[in-house]
């Protein structure tokens, strides 16, 4: 075993399979058509048919046992195509249920895998009886959340409040009435921290997608658009901004893949690396999509141009959790061996 940064044959097949699925089912026309809710039921159905939820669950719990790295490679494709489907949340929620393993959790997991129910999880505890900005909260059948050391589930009814938002994401604010317990005790804290690690690393992987695709669009435009009789990409002011973005994105992808790899291969570093990757990939994707949009001039500001789709998600997706500094702080707490300080 030695350093090998290219995907294995199986990993490449996985990437290719999902790239093909998204090519077909998540064109920018489809992405636009799913706005403003940000949910494309047909895409979600196709993802489910391809095992997007089952693959994430351990074999012991009835799933296919994909590694976190496998999931990250799929998440890269999801991000690249701006998938309008709550795949990351559904995967992380399913893995969390499998880890918790109480009868209630097992029942919910069965529903998520075989019953086609969409289970998501809240990244923050409720405040004043309200879960705020729950990822996929606008379309989920059930929401997992933690309150006072207990893991609870809630079937959001008519009370949920859809929120128009920057990223056209299906988030919502949800009152916690009617929730029931799924698990309690130390297992809850571990499960939630573990779920957060996984969501962070998968989101980091997803962020590389809009960053890289936005950069490609920006580079293409810089080659085509002319000023003073030459392509604008020949001006250093433009070329250097793109070069910096490309460099940061290459670094972001390496970091996110290393973090995902470490989940199984170097678990002692997983929490730290997942949080570092989230913070870094968030910044890198924002920078790449911002520059690419800006180098479109006024056209970049037009809704009609696709570049804005990438720019809005590059900010909106990770913001569902927190700003990069929160993740950097979480990582540093691990590095310094501080517990109870994270999050």
């Amino acid at each position: 075993m030695a350093l090998d940064l290219s995907p294995s044959e199986e990993q490449q097949q996985l990437i290719d399979a999902f790239a093909a699925l998204y090519d077909k089912e998540s064109s920018t026309e489809r992405v636009r058509a799913a706005e403003p809710l940000g949910h494309d039921p047909d895409l979600w159905r196709r993802l489910r048919e391809n095992g997007a939820v089952e693959m994430a669950v351990d074999e012991a719990a009835g799933g296919w046992g994909a590694t976190v790295l496998d999931l990250a490679l799929v998440a890269e494709q999801h991000g690249r195509h701006l998938g309008s489907a709550p795949m990351l949340e559904a995967q992380v929620a399913a893995r969390t249920l499998a880890r918790v393993g109480t009868p209630e959790a097992t029942g919910l997991l069965e529903g998520a895998m075989d019953g086609g129910r969409l289970v998501t999880l809240a990244l923050h505890p409720p405040r004043a009886g309200l879960l705020r900005m729950v990822p996929a909260g606008a379309v989920a059948d059930a929401i997992l959340f933690v309150d006072g050391g207990r893991l609870l589930v809630l079937e959001p009814g008519l009370g949920r409040i859809r929120v128009a938002n920057l990223g056209s994401l299906p988030v919502s604010d949800v009152p916690v009435e009617g929730s029931r317990p799924v698990a309690e005790g130390p297992v809850v804290r571990d499960a939630l921290e573990g779920a957060l690690d996984e969501w962070l690393v998968l989101m980091a992987a997803a962020m590389v997608g809009p960053g890289a695709r936005a950069l490609e669009i920006g580079v293409g435009y810089a080659k085509d658009r002319h000023a003073f009789g030459v392509p604008i990409g020949s001006f250093q002011a433009v070329a250097h901004g793109l070069a910096d973005a490309a460099t940061a994105l290459d670094g972001a992808q390496l970091l996110e893949r290393e973090a995902a790899w470490s989940a199984t291969e170097e678990p002692g570093r997983f929490r730290e690396l997942a949080a570092l990757a989230f913070g870094f990939c968030t910044d890198a994707a924002r920078q790449a999509s911002y520059r690419s949009l800006h180098y479109h001039g006024g056209y970049g500001f037009m809704l009609e141009h696709d570049i804005q789709l990438f720019w809005r998600r590059a900010k909106g997706w990770p913001a569902q959790y927190a700003e990069p500094d929160v993740a950097f702080g979480r990582a540093e707490a691990c590095r310094l061996g501080m517990s109870g300080e994270e999050g």
Binding site: A2, V230, Q236, A246, A248, G329, A331, R335
Partner: protein
């Protein structure tokens, strides 16, 4: 996909640490600090005895046959420990060129002595009037029978005061188009007509301005063809192996992490209890990890048989810009105390941020400035038109 470096590389790391513990003494570090010279003859000879002057060369040529990644791991350890490696670095770039392009006599003259740690070769590319555009070199070499006569000056000739030879880019045909009239020589530095004037730099590193007045070089020390200097430079660039990145910033981060965990006198909690401190250190840790990964990728690409290209430029650009950003940010984090100089007994965290803040600005310049790296990435990596 596997991010492990492998047993062989980890073994190199262990050996490097042992070696550094034994040979990178406080005395060596102290001397480096006071003189600003990043070359130490005792350390250099110890490297040579260990067979580590040319670790990447084949065993039969006096190397260890290390892969690029193994060599990189060694460098990671040396940089992080702050070992004096500039002299051996430039020497082996030139020895590598001579190994490929030199005459039998040149190989005989240079390679065994270089491997034994007896000589140092420095780089004489940059001139007072040109650096990035090295092809504009003005230093003249004029033929005189079996010899050449050299007149001109070179800027930033680091380690010239220690050096036996300067590998020098000279102009032999002033009328030819710029890149056609250049020739490279191995110029013996210990001779009349060579004047070495020290230059002090922001980080304390010493470099030199060197003058050459009617300096004589035998034709036998010409490397490559007459007027073929640009081809020699191209071979030199293609030999350039991936350089480790992130060593200096790892050192800074480690010092500040120790500081963050220590409750200050009269204080009630360590700085790390402040989430803003953790966020800033975490951000530096992320960029540091990325610097390391980009450099390793560049090594891995070369081990897979490709030439170093855009990957090397990205690694160099990112790491030097990252340490520039991070040192400024972490210096700020310390408040007014951040200004206390490295070496001052009152400095916090050993003055690591203050030193890195000064050191960083050299890294964005030597080895190709950040702008030059961005040009390469834009053109060769992104396929944009030649930047202007």
């Amino acid at each position: 996909m596997d991010f492990r470096l492998g047993e062989a590389a980890e073994d190199v790391r262990r050996q490097a640490r042992q070696f550094l513990e034994q040979h990178l003494t406080d005395e060596v570090k102290e001397k480096m600090h006071t003189t600003g010279v990043h070359h130490d003859w005792d350390f250099h000879r110890a490297l040579s005895e260990r067979g580590w002057v040319a670790p990447g060369w084949p065993v039969e040529l006096g190397g260890q046959g290390y892969s690029v990644v193994e060599g990189l791991v060694m460098q990671e350890e040396f940089h992080q420990a702050g070992a004096p490696t500039y002299g051996v670095g430039t020497t082996m770039i030139v020895a590598g060129i001579i190994r490929r392009l030199g005459t039998p006599a040149q190989k005989e003259l240079v390679i065994p002595r270089a491997l034994r740690g007896e000589i140092i070769i420095v780089l004489g590319f940059t001139e007072p009037e040109c650096g990035s555009v090295v092809v504009a070199a003005q230093t003249r070499a004029v033929r005189d029978g079996d010899e050449w006569v050299i007149n001109g000056s070179k800027m930033f000739t680091t380690n010239a005061q220690e050096g036996d030879y300067a590998f020098m880019l000279t102009r032999t045909d002033p009328d030819a188009p710029k890149h056609k009239g250049l020739t490279t020589f191995l110029v013996p530095l210990r001779q009349p007509g060579v004047e070495i004037r020290p230059i002090r730099t922001l980080s304390g590193e010493r470099t030199n301005l060197t003058f050459y007045t009617d300096v004589r070089v035998e034709d036998g020390l010409r490397i490559g063809e007459v007027d073929g200097g640009w081809d020699v430079m191209a071979v030199g660039l293609s030999l350039e192996r991936a350089g480790a990145q992130g060593g200096e910033s790892s050192r800074m981060l480690a010092a500040l992490e120790r500081w963050a965990c220590t409750t200050p006198e009269g204080g009630s909690a360590p700085p790390a209890s402040d989430p803003r401190v953790r966020a800033r250190l975490g951000r530096a840790a992320a960029e540091n990890e990325v610097s390391t990964l980009l450099a390793r990728r560049s090594g891995w690409v070369q081990d897979s048989g490709a030439l170093p290209g855009v990957e090397g430029s990205m690694a160099k650009l990112f790491a030097s810009e990252a340490i520039t950003r991070q040192s400024a940010d972490l210096l700020d984090m310390l408040g007014p105390d951040g200004m206390r100089s490295e070496g001052d007994p009152t400095a916090l965290a050993g003055g690591a941020a203050e030193y890195a803040y000064r050191f960083a600005l050299g890294t964005t310049t030597y080895g190709g400035t950040s702008e030059v790296q961005r040009n390469i990435i834009a053109q060769r990596g992104l396929g944009l038109p030649r930047p202007r």
